[in-house]
Amino acid sequence: MKNWFKSGAPWIWLNGGAVALCIVMVVGLLGLIAIRGFGHFWPADIMQTTIVDKAGVGKAILGEKVRSETIPAAVARDGGYEIGDDVELVTRYLVKEGNRDVSARDFNWYLGIGMGEWEYPENAVSIERREWGNFYGFPQQLLENGAVIASLGEETFWQELSERVERSLDIHSDISHIEKGAIGRINHKLERIRLDKRRLELQGADAATMAAAEAEFAARRAELDAQYVEVKAERDALYKLLERDTLIATVASGREVKIPLQNIVRVTRPNAMGVFGKMGQYVERFWEFLSDEPREANTEGGIFPAIFGTVTMVLVMSIIVTPFGVLAAIYLREYAKQGPVLRLIRISVYNLAGVPSIVYGVFGLGFFVYILGGSLDELFYPESLPAPTFGTPGLFWASLTLALLTLPVVIVSTEEGLSRIPTTIRQGSLALGATKAETLWKVVVPLATPAMMTGLILAIARAAGEVAPLMLVGVVKLAPSLPIDGNYPYLHLDQKIMHLGFHIYDVGFQSPNVEAARPLVYATALTLVLLIIVLNLTAIRIRNSLREKYRSASD
């Protein structure tokens, strides 16, 4: 024993334990995100039971069990519960009861003590709604213009309900198509007319030109107005159609609630579903999450605009950072005079990778947005002033800031790639009479391409996960439209965007109902983590294969 200690073996085990602990933490963290994130889409069973509240009054509840925990009884007693002295630990359950329109709180903790048997009634439904969050209850009747069409118990009831929900969803999608598409386009054109007019005024056009232009603008405007009236009539007709059906349902306490069908996104009956039914539902929900727009202050619905915004921003950033990063690396490695000054520059550039990202955000906001953007506005967009075009945080500035932030990553990686290329290859090319540029572009750079790719991928991975600077330079919690659409100039670099990382921060920490948003945050986090892990693993793979390649080439 003494010898064992003397040999230092305990220390080795301790060191090994540190590694084990790190691995456990990483894997545990990823597992936590994966389980919570993926679990969000599984249609949970709806349980019904009775509980006894603090005042000792019994109550029926209906909802999904979110989680449970064991707490010392003292804590519960402090919370005002009557618990016998012999009890040391109590279990409590967090139940999602939904129905924010009926009872104020949709998530409630209930003690296991005094809780009745858990039942899973087959007719219990969970209804996702456009307002007031989920509804849990039992549907009773389906009304069309106030007349009963079907009641619970009739064979056709569920069939009828799902068909009618389907119909209202179709109408909704038509309406949103009209609002986003046609009306958006008309508004965009009207705004352009206003800007054209203002531009003419600013240019100091004389009265005659002004009058002519005015007439033309008026004609164009009249035409658009006519279009608008038409489209609006169409939309209003659709809205009228939507109001047809209503569902009458009862909640756990037996109270009746009227839910207009236009308010319903999805009706599920998880207790009546088999595993395959649930899996179908799972896939559907997962797809909706990825492809839909957020609802209810981002706490429900999908994250498509955030994914789209992140991807667009990262693409624009890549377009900026790749050429500059690569050229800078080539300059540092191939052209600059090697010496103490260059060493200093190189160390500085490398160290910029370690500068806090928020500093880049501050620089981006101050220099890019206010100084560059402000000047751009004065030069090119005077007609829309004082409303800023580029003089306000937006997609382009976000991309540019991140490009600056990731420049060191690309430079370091490219330089490493360049330095790994054996000098013999370079000398061979030069010996054959190639100029320096030819050697560079035809021999060295193609060989270093994988290194550049690695750098770019790492840069993308870093940019996709970076949030702090973006909070300053162009990311918002809810962007009115996507940065790419059908209106000229198609790619709107001045527009504010949504971003996955910021979405996590915003929904998790700024939303009024954190408990309701929690699963969505986990799911969003999962999406982001997956994206970044895939990018990083790709980069690692490329780099490793590259090392192998040159190891054999230089041997």
Binding site: A18, V19, V27, A74, E88, P323, F324, I358, F363, F367
Partner: protein, 760 residues
């Protein structure tokens, strides 16, 4: 490349002709130089762009350091704008219109730049009565009290109406009477008023006056406007204050906005404070000598938390109303400024800041800021003594009236007086506080709140977060690195390294959100678990190791050395689970059911989002940085060194302690520095896992606010180019410089080390 002679004519050659070859050579040369210049330009541009970050941040911060400047642009005689002797001069916020209040009781408006008269309003004084004193509230309220020779007081207020006919701004000056046009009787005995004071308060207007026979009167008045006739009726009472001790004669009087404190300066260089919470029962709380000579000017700064007092010796000092533990207020001198050479004649507070301007009897002008204890300017601007200083509400223009009757129009640059070394880094005695403190509270509630911009709480918060993160990350990172580089089998190393790299790439927003939404509540409910894990985990590791060494060789030899970490994974998981499972029982056995409650009962504050949470989450983010660099350093220790040591009979661990660590220590040190650099600048984790309250302590169970999180929170809501904006830039510059220096040191150490390895 030498010229070769063209091939002999006659034989057909595949070689292009000499001309073509020359052309080709030229194109190639051209391409070569284009490539060279293009790349050089791009490269230098990138380097310059990165350098620009420094220069730009500095250029934004630089104006904070500049003192005030004044430049006289024009002057005209006061007679041009004032038909009788000028008593008070004012300038409005668009810096176009000045107002002059004369001893005849007229208010005359004029174009500030040229002295062209615009409108006159005559205040209706009763027949045979003249104005004997003038008092004003803090300038943002614009109240002017006229003390009359019959013991009455008339309250007036100058305001400006704004209209935009034809898209052009038009300012219409107006004169109102908040308490009606009938003067208020301040002295029922009808003696003339020698000095008057006024403030607008929550319960109406409070008025104070000193009568000719040295009585101090206090009036509290409210007014009501008849909606139909527009007539204003006022309502209130006047109280007589206790007399001053001895034969002191009151000279100046001021009353504050809470209507609880009345301050009187007498002719014997003393200040007297009255508590007037209940005016009928007012008492003299204290008489203090100024210690700086006879008071010649006394004004409240905006917000009326502090007084500026100028004396006949030219000293300028700021006095705060400070509450003692018995809830009694005292005036205390907290700051002395670089005075003026001669007796002070006038003090003119700014409208929205704690700044003020002071003039003396020989024409010297001083510009100061209270909170920052900063003297921004002392300069002689006039030949004669200064009678009036009228600064505009936006602090851009100043009218200086001297005793020779000249009005000077001056442009003022005084954008950032609030910042000084002491206001950023030292304890500051703020208004309403009982002692000097470090406070960050920059986002002001309104014009009257004092901005508190001490960077100390933020810097300490940053260091606190980094400290706890390092406490968690250093042992794990370095020990893990030593093990991975030196003991681990290559196969496992190939798995561990990518895992750690993934760990490094995890977006911090995810770590922050898990820390805030999952870890913080978890820790709160399982506090004993974290402490038991801390104790049990190492013990368990050693025990497992000991147990392993005593297993029969048949099992032991199946697993070669270097798999200790893999063996430990299951025990680590079990220990963790055990600690969490036992945690509620521990709470019941030792902490009366709740450890958190136990902490609170024992006087330790516990926030749910605290430094412990940040330490773990940020430690998680820092571990990979430390791990990668330290691992690199240990792994690259030349093999022959370690082999030599082993050959001499040292055990593996002795080799690590005696040879590997000493050789790699600079690398490990630089790893720690890099980790520290990352922890200092990390934003999202701190933003999400702490309460972001700028506290000044090192309690692990309380939160903090760091420089970076502060910038992220406050910068989007700050007015561009305001002082607050620039201070946030200063915070970023501090962060940039700090991390840059730390990283550069680490990088240089690393490069040295690499060189040393190659020499070994």
């Amino acid at each position: 490349m030498s010229e070769t002679s063209p091939a002999a004519s006659g034989t057909k050659s595949l070689m292009p002709s000499a001309q073509e070859r020359a052309k080709l050579r030229n194109t190639r040369r051209l391409k070569d130089s284009i490539s060279k210049w293009g790349i050089t330009t791009a490269g230098l541009a990138v380097v310059a762009a990165l350098g620009l970050i420094f220069f730009y941040l500095f250029s934004e911060v630089f104006p904070l350091l500049k003192d005030a400047e004044v430049e006289v642009v024009d002057s005209y005689p006061v007679a041009q704008v004032s038909s009788a002797e000028n008593q008070y001069m004012l300038l409005e916020r668009y810096e176009q219109i000045g107002a002059s209040l004369t001893s005849a009781g007229t208010v005359e408006f004029f174009e500030a730049d040229y002295g062209k008269p615009l409108v006159n309003y005559a205040v209706d004084l009763p027949a045979g009565v003249e104005m004997t004193a003038l008092g004003k509230s803090t300038p943002n309220n614009g109240l002017i009290a006229l003390g009359l020779s019959n013991g009455e007081l008339l309250l007036s207020q100058i305001s400006y109406g704004l209209t935009y006919p034809d898209d052009k701004r038009k300012i219409t000056p107006e004169l109102d009477y908040p308490l009606g046009e009938t003067p208020i009787v301040m002295d029922p005995e009808g003696k003339a008023l020698r000095a008057v004071a006024v403030q607008a308060t929550g319960r109406g207007h409070v008025l104070a006056a000193i009568t000719e026979d040295n009585r101090i009167q206090l009036g509290v008045y409210t007014s009501r406007k008849n909606m139909i006739t527009g007539k204003i009726t006022s309502n209130g009472r006047v109280f007589t204050m206790p007399g001053l001790p001895g034969d002191a004669k009151a000279q100046f009087v001021q009353v504050d906005q809470t209507a609880r404190h009345l301050v009187v300066a007498d002719d014997q260089a003393q200040l007297h404070t009255f508590a007037v919470d209940t005016p009928s029962n007012a008492s003299l709380t204290e008489s203090v000598p100024t210690g700086r000579g006879q008071v010649t000017a006394m004004e409240f700064l905006v917000g009326t938390g502090s007084l500026v007092i100028g004396t006949d010796s030219g000293s300028v000092s700021q006095w705060l109303l400070v509450r003692d533990p018995k809830n009694v207020y005292h005036v205390k001198p907290v700051r002395d400024f670089e005075g003026l050479p001669n007796a002070i004649t006038t003090v003119s507070p700014e409208y929205t800041r704690r700044g003020f301007l002071v003039g003396d009897s020989e024409g010297y002008l001083g510009i100061y800021h209270g909170t920052a204890a900063r003297t921004l300017l002392v300069e002689q601007v006039a030949e004669a003594g200064i009678a009036q200083l009228a600064i505009s509400p936006i602090n851009g223009k100043l009218l200086i009236l001297d005793q020779a009757g000249t009005v000077q129009v001056t442009e003022v640059w005084n954008e950032h007086p609030e910042i000084s070394f002491s206001s950023l880094w030292q304890k500051v005695w703020y208004e309403g506080r009982s002692e000097p403190e470090y406070v960050w509270q920059a986002s002001s509630g309104g014009d009257e709140s004092e901005s508190k911009m001490s960077l100390v709480p933020l810097s300490l918060g940053t260091l606190k977060a980094a400290f706890f993160a390092m406490l968690f990350a250093i042992p794990l990172g370095i020990m893990g690195a030593v093990y991975t580089a030196y003991f681990m089998t290559p196969k496992m190393r190939g798995l561990v390294k990518p895992t750690i790299e993934i760990m490094e790439a995890l977006p911090t927003v995810i770590l922050g959100f898990l820390a805030g939404l999952w870890l913080a509540p978890f820790l709160e409910n399982h506090l004993p678990a974290i402490f038991s894990i801390l104790l049990l985990m190492p013990v368990m590791m050693v025990l497992v190791g000991f147990g392993w060494s005593h297993l029969p060789g048949a099992i032991r030899h199946r697993v070669s050395d270097g798999w200790e970490a893999a063996i430990l994974i299951i025990p680590v998981l079990l220990t963790g689970w055990l600690c969490v499972a036992v945690s509620p029982h521990l709470e019941i056995w030792f902490f009366d059911g709740s450890m958190r409650q136990w902490f609170t009962n024992n006087g330790i504050n516990y926030d749910q989002r605290n430094a412990l949470v940040v330490g773990i989450a940020m430690g998680f983010a820092v571990i990979p940085t430390i791990f990668s660099i330290a691992e690199d350093a240990v792994f690259n220790v030349p093999r022959h060194l370690t082999q030599g040591s082993l050959a001499l009979g040292a055990t593996r661990w002795q080799t690590v302690i005696g040879v590997v660590l000493p050789t790699a220590s600079p690398g490990i040190f630089s790893a720690v520095m890099m980790g520290f650099g990352r922890a200092v600048g990390e934003t999202m984790i701190v933003l999400m896992a702490t309460g972001n309250s700028p506290v000044v302590n090192f309690n692990i169970f309380e939160g903090m606010r760091t420089l970076s999180a502060n910038v992220a929170v406050e910068l989007p809501e700050t007015a561009v180019d305001s002082t607050h904006f620039r201070v946030l830039f200063l915070a970023s510059l501090v962060l940039l410089a700090l991390t840059f220096i730390v990283n550069t040191c680490a990088e240089i150490i690393r490069q040295r080390l690499r060189k040393r390895y190659s020499n070994l």
